[in-house]
Symmetry: C2
Subunit: 154 residues, 2 copies
Protein backbone atom coordinates (compact mmCIF):
# COMPACT_ATOMS: atom_id res chain seq x y z
CA UNK A 1 0.00 0.00 0.00
CA UNK A 2 2.87 2.42 0.72
CA UNK A 3 3.97 2.04 -2.90
CA UNK A 4 0.50 2.88 -4.23
CA UNK A 5 0.23 6.16 -2.32
CA UNK A 6 3.81 7.07 -3.14
CA UNK A 7 3.17 6.48 -6.85
CA UNK A 8 0.35 9.02 -6.59
CA UNK A 9 2.77 11.56 -5.04
CA UNK A 10 5.29 10.91 -7.84
CA UNK A 11 2.56 11.31 -10.48
CA UNK A 12 1.57 14.66 -8.93
CA UNK A 13 5.22 15.73 -9.07
CA UNK A 14 5.67 14.81 -12.73
CA UNK A 15 2.38 16.43 -13.74
CA UNK A 16 3.38 19.58 -11.86
CA UNK A 17 6.47 20.07 -14.03
CA UNK A 18 4.36 20.20 -17.18
CA UNK A 19 2.10 22.70 -15.38
CA UNK A 20 5.09 24.98 -14.75
CA UNK A 21 5.74 24.10 -11.10
CA UNK A 22 8.52 22.39 -9.19
CA UNK A 23 8.98 18.59 -9.47
CA UNK A 24 7.55 17.61 -6.11
CA UNK A 25 4.30 16.03 -4.92
CA UNK A 26 2.89 14.79 -1.60
CA UNK A 27 -0.11 12.82 -0.34
CA UNK A 28 -1.38 12.54 3.25
CA UNK A 29 -3.21 9.37 4.26
CA UNK A 30 -5.09 8.41 7.41
CA UNK A 31 -6.56 4.97 8.04
CA UNK A 32 -6.37 4.01 4.36
CA UNK A 33 -7.95 7.21 3.05
CA UNK A 34 -6.21 10.02 1.16
CA UNK A 35 -7.16 13.17 3.05
CA UNK A 36 -4.98 15.70 1.23
CA UNK A 37 -2.64 16.13 -1.72
CA UNK A 38 -0.18 18.80 -2.72
CA UNK A 39 2.21 19.83 -5.45
CA UNK A 40 4.85 22.54 -5.40
CA UNK A 41 3.30 26.01 -5.90
CA UNK A 42 6.27 28.26 -5.02
CA UNK A 43 6.46 30.21 -8.27
CA UNK A 44 2.79 29.95 -9.25
CA UNK A 45 1.55 31.23 -5.88
CA UNK A 46 4.45 33.64 -5.16
CA UNK A 47 4.86 31.65 -1.94
CA UNK A 48 8.34 30.39 -1.00
CA UNK A 49 6.75 28.11 1.62
CA UNK A 50 4.46 26.34 -0.87
CA UNK A 51 6.43 23.12 -1.11
CA UNK A 52 4.34 20.03 -1.88
CA UNK A 53 4.52 18.77 1.71
CA UNK A 54 3.48 22.15 3.17
CA UNK A 55 0.63 22.47 0.66
CA UNK A 56 -0.58 18.96 1.61
CA UNK A 57 -0.22 19.59 5.36
CA UNK A 58 -2.19 22.83 5.11
CA UNK A 59 -4.91 21.05 3.12
CA UNK A 60 -5.00 18.20 5.64
CA UNK A 61 -5.40 20.70 8.49
CA UNK A 62 -8.41 22.14 6.70
CA UNK A 63 -9.84 18.70 5.92
CA UNK A 64 -9.55 17.57 9.55
CA UNK A 65 -10.17 21.04 11.05
CA UNK A 66 -7.14 20.51 13.25
CA UNK A 67 -3.51 21.54 13.44
CA UNK A 68 -2.72 18.06 14.83
CA UNK A 69 -2.25 15.43 12.14
CA UNK A 70 -1.38 12.56 14.49
CA UNK A 71 -2.39 9.26 12.93
CA UNK A 72 -1.50 10.40 9.41
CA UNK A 73 1.34 9.35 7.09
CA UNK A 74 2.87 11.65 4.48
CA UNK A 75 4.02 10.22 1.15
CA UNK A 76 6.49 12.59 -0.52
CA UNK A 77 7.97 12.16 -3.98
CA UNK A 78 11.28 13.40 -2.54
CA UNK A 79 12.84 13.45 0.93
CA UNK A 80 11.48 16.53 2.75
CA UNK A 81 13.71 19.61 3.02
CA UNK A 82 14.36 21.08 6.50
CA UNK A 83 11.36 23.43 6.22
CA UNK A 84 9.07 20.55 5.34
CA UNK A 85 10.56 18.22 7.95
CA UNK A 86 9.98 20.95 10.52
CA UNK A 87 6.37 21.24 9.33
CA UNK A 88 5.99 17.45 9.58
CA UNK A 89 7.26 17.50 13.18
CA UNK A 90 4.96 20.38 14.18
CA UNK A 91 2.01 18.61 12.51
CA UNK A 92 2.81 15.47 14.55
CA UNK A 93 2.60 13.23 11.49
CA UNK A 94 3.23 9.55 12.33
CA UNK A 95 5.45 8.55 9.47
CA UNK A 96 7.21 9.66 6.25
CA UNK A 97 7.54 7.61 3.06
CA UNK A 98 9.69 9.06 0.27
CA UNK A 99 11.19 7.99 -3.08
CA UNK A 100 13.93 10.43 -4.20
CA UNK A 101 16.51 11.78 -1.74
CA UNK A 102 17.84 15.23 -0.90
CA UNK A 103 20.94 14.35 -2.92
CA UNK A 104 18.71 13.64 -5.93
CA UNK A 105 17.05 17.04 -5.40
CA UNK A 106 20.45 18.74 -5.13
CA UNK A 107 21.51 17.13 -8.44
CA UNK A 108 18.44 18.75 -10.03
CA UNK A 109 19.46 22.19 -8.73
CA UNK A 110 17.60 22.43 -5.41
CA UNK A 111 19.10 23.62 -2.12
CA UNK A 112 17.83 20.89 0.20
CA UNK A 113 21.25 19.44 1.03
CA UNK A 114 22.81 22.86 1.62
CA UNK A 115 19.98 23.84 3.90
CA UNK A 116 20.36 20.73 6.07
CA UNK A 117 24.01 21.70 6.49
CA UNK A 118 23.03 25.31 7.27
CA UNK A 119 20.62 24.32 10.04
CA UNK A 120 23.24 22.12 11.68
CA UNK A 121 25.61 25.09 12.06
CA UNK A 122 25.54 27.52 15.00
CA UNK A 123 23.64 30.69 14.01
CA UNK A 124 26.84 32.75 13.80
CA UNK A 125 28.25 30.43 11.10
CA UNK A 126 25.19 30.41 8.83
CA UNK A 127 24.88 32.24 5.50
CA UNK A 128 22.00 34.42 6.72
CA UNK A 129 23.24 36.85 9.38
CA UNK A 130 21.29 36.73 12.65
CA UNK A 131 21.36 39.54 15.18
CA UNK A 132 19.87 39.34 18.66
CA UNK A 133 18.65 42.47 20.45
CA UNK A 134 15.98 43.29 23.07
CA UNK A 135 16.55 40.03 24.94
CA UNK A 136 14.62 41.20 28.02
CA UNK A 137 11.67 42.67 26.12
CA UNK A 138 11.46 39.52 23.99
CA UNK A 139 10.52 37.40 27.00
CA UNK A 140 7.28 39.33 27.57
CA UNK A 141 5.07 37.44 25.05
CA UNK A 142 6.31 34.06 26.34
CA UNK A 143 5.53 35.10 29.92
CA UNK A 144 2.07 36.28 28.81
CA UNK A 145 1.52 32.84 27.25
CA UNK A 146 2.62 31.01 30.39
CA UNK A 147 0.18 33.09 32.44
CA UNK A 148 -2.78 32.91 30.02
CA UNK A 149 -5.10 30.26 31.44
CA UNK A 150 -7.32 29.92 28.33
CA UNK A 151 -4.47 29.11 25.95
CA UNK A 152 -4.80 26.38 23.32
CA UNK A 153 -1.51 24.45 23.30
CA UNK A 154 -0.02 23.14 20.07
CA UNK B 1 15.98 51.08 13.64
CA UNK B 2 16.32 47.31 14.18
CA UNK B 3 14.95 47.80 17.68
CA UNK B 4 11.91 49.70 16.43
CA UNK B 5 10.84 46.98 13.98
CA UNK B 6 11.58 44.25 16.52
CA UNK B 7 9.42 46.01 19.14
CA UNK B 8 6.55 45.84 16.63
CA UNK B 9 7.10 42.07 16.24
CA UNK B 10 7.12 41.66 20.03
CA UNK B 11 3.93 43.74 20.33
CA UNK B 12 2.23 41.50 17.74
CA UNK B 13 3.32 38.46 19.73
CA UNK B 14 1.94 39.76 23.03
CA UNK B 15 -1.34 40.90 21.46
CA UNK B 16 -1.70 37.47 19.82
CA UNK B 17 -1.74 35.70 23.20
CA UNK B 18 -4.74 37.72 24.32
CA UNK B 19 -6.40 36.84 20.98
CA UNK B 20 -5.95 33.12 21.72
CA UNK B 21 -2.89 32.47 19.53
CA UNK B 22 0.72 31.50 20.15
CA UNK B 23 3.17 34.09 21.58
CA UNK B 24 5.06 34.87 18.39
CA UNK B 25 5.13 37.79 15.95
CA UNK B 26 7.17 38.76 12.89
CA UNK B 27 7.66 41.78 10.64
CA UNK B 28 9.33 41.90 7.20
CA UNK B 29 11.01 45.13 6.12
CA UNK B 30 12.53 46.24 2.82
CA UNK B 31 14.33 49.55 2.32
CA UNK B 32 12.85 51.05 5.48
CA UNK B 33 9.27 50.00 4.77
CA UNK B 34 7.23 47.31 6.54
CA UNK B 35 5.90 45.12 3.74
CA UNK B 36 4.34 42.33 5.81
CA UNK B 37 3.49 41.29 9.36
CA UNK B 38 2.45 38.00 10.91
CA UNK B 39 1.38 36.42 14.17
CA UNK B 40 1.04 32.75 15.02
CA UNK B 41 -2.21 31.31 13.64
CA UNK B 42 -1.62 27.56 14.17
CA UNK B 43 -4.68 26.82 16.27
CA UNK B 44 -6.94 29.55 14.90
CA UNK B 45 -6.37 28.55 11.26
CA UNK B 46 -5.99 24.77 11.83
CA UNK B 47 -2.63 25.15 10.13
CA UNK B 48 0.48 23.67 11.79
CA UNK B 49 2.67 25.71 9.41
CA UNK B 50 1.14 29.07 10.38
CA UNK B 51 4.02 30.27 12.54
CA UNK B 52 4.45 34.05 12.65
CA UNK B 53 7.46 33.98 10.31
CA UNK B 54 5.69 31.78 7.74
CA UNK B 55 2.58 33.96 7.90
CA UNK B 56 4.73 37.07 7.33
CA UNK B 57 6.74 35.44 4.51
CA UNK B 58 3.57 34.35 2.72
CA UNK B 59 2.14 37.87 3.07
CA UNK B 60 5.38 39.41 1.80
CA UNK B 61 5.31 37.11 -1.24
CA UNK B 62 1.82 38.38 -2.01
CA UNK B 63 2.80 42.01 -1.42
CA UNK B 64 5.81 41.76 -3.74
CA UNK B 65 4.21 39.21 -6.12
CA UNK B 66 7.38 37.15 -5.87
CA UNK B 67 8.68 34.05 -4.11
CA UNK B 68 12.07 35.78 -3.85
CA UNK B 69 12.37 38.10 -0.84
CA UNK B 70 15.99 39.09 -1.42
CA UNK B 71 16.64 42.55 0.00
CA UNK B 72 14.29 42.02 2.93
CA UNK B 73 14.98 41.59 6.67
CA UNK B 74 12.75 39.57 9.00
CA UNK B 75 12.25 40.73 12.60
CA UNK B 76 11.02 37.85 14.75
CA UNK B 77 9.98 38.10 18.38
CA UNK B 78 11.70 34.75 18.94
CA UNK B 79 14.51 32.86 17.19
CA UNK B 80 12.98 31.00 14.21
CA UNK B 81 12.33 27.26 14.57
CA UNK B 82 13.80 24.90 11.94
CA UNK B 83 10.65 25.10 9.79
CA UNK B 84 10.79 28.90 9.81
CA UNK B 85 14.55 29.04 9.28
CA UNK B 86 14.08 26.74 6.29
CA UNK B 87 11.38 29.09 4.97
CA UNK B 88 13.72 32.06 5.49
CA UNK B 89 16.46 30.33 3.49
CA UNK B 90 14.10 29.41 0.63
CA UNK B 91 12.74 32.99 0.59
CA UNK B 92 16.33 34.29 0.29
CA UNK B 93 15.81 36.83 3.08
CA UNK B 94 18.92 38.93 3.73
CA UNK B 95 18.97 39.01 7.51
CA UNK B 96 17.25 37.87 10.71
CA UNK B 97 16.80 39.97 13.86
CA UNK B 98 15.31 38.24 16.91
CA UNK B 99 14.73 38.91 20.62
CA UNK B 100 13.92 35.69 22.51
CA UNK B 101 15.82 32.45 21.84
CA UNK B 102 14.82 28.85 21.12
CA UNK B 103 15.72 28.07 24.73
CA UNK B 104 13.26 30.75 25.89
CA UNK B 105 10.61 29.14 23.64
CA UNK B 106 11.40 25.70 25.04
CA UNK B 107 10.98 27.03 28.59
CA UNK B 108 7.48 28.16 27.59
CA UNK B 109 6.61 24.66 26.35
CA UNK B 110 7.49 24.82 22.65
CA UNK B 111 9.45 22.17 20.72
CA UNK B 112 11.91 24.42 18.87
CA UNK B 113 15.03 23.13 20.64
CA UNK B 114 14.00 19.49 20.24
CA UNK B 115 13.34 20.00 16.57
CA UNK B 116 16.79 21.50 15.94
CA UNK B 117 18.24 18.38 17.54
CA UNK B 118 15.97 16.14 15.45
CA UNK B 119 17.02 17.69 12.15
CA UNK B 120 20.68 17.27 12.99
CA UNK B 121 20.24 13.49 13.38
CA UNK B 122 20.42 11.02 10.49
CA UNK B 123 16.89 10.12 9.32
CA UNK B 124 17.09 6.64 10.87
CA UNK B 125 17.65 8.14 14.34
CA UNK B 126 14.76 10.63 14.28
CA UNK B 127 11.49 10.31 16.19
CA UNK B 128 9.39 10.21 12.99
CA UNK B 129 10.04 6.96 11.09
CA UNK B 130 11.10 7.49 7.47
CA UNK B 131 10.88 4.74 4.87
CA UNK B 132 12.32 4.95 1.37
CA UNK B 133 10.81 2.96 -1.49
CA UNK B 134 10.51 3.37 -5.30
CA UNK B 135 13.96 4.94 -5.58
CA UNK B 136 14.09 4.53 -9.36
CA UNK B 137 10.57 5.79 -10.03
CA UNK B 138 11.17 8.76 -7.75
CA UNK B 139 13.82 10.16 -10.08
CA UNK B 140 11.31 10.65 -12.92
CA UNK B 141 9.89 14.05 -11.83
CA UNK B 142 13.41 15.42 -11.25
CA UNK B 143 14.50 14.25 -14.71
CA UNK B 144 11.37 15.84 -16.20
CA UNK B 145 12.31 19.10 -14.46
CA UNK B 146 15.88 19.00 -15.77
CA UNK B 147 14.57 18.49 -19.30
CA UNK B 148 11.76 21.09 -19.16
CA UNK B 149 13.09 24.13 -20.98
CA UNK B 150 10.34 26.54 -19.83
CA UNK B 151 10.87 25.95 -16.11
CA UNK B 152 10.84 28.82 -13.61
CA UNK B 153 13.70 28.20 -11.19
CA UNK B 154 13.37 29.03 -7.49
Amino acid sequence: MDEEYLRRAIALATANVAAGGGPFGAVIVREGHVIAEGANRVTAAHDPTAHAEVVAIRAAGQALQSHDLSGCTIFASCEPCPMCLGAILWARLDRIVNAATKEDAAAAGFDDSNFYAELAKPPSARQTPMRRVLAAEGIAPLLAWRQFSAKVRY
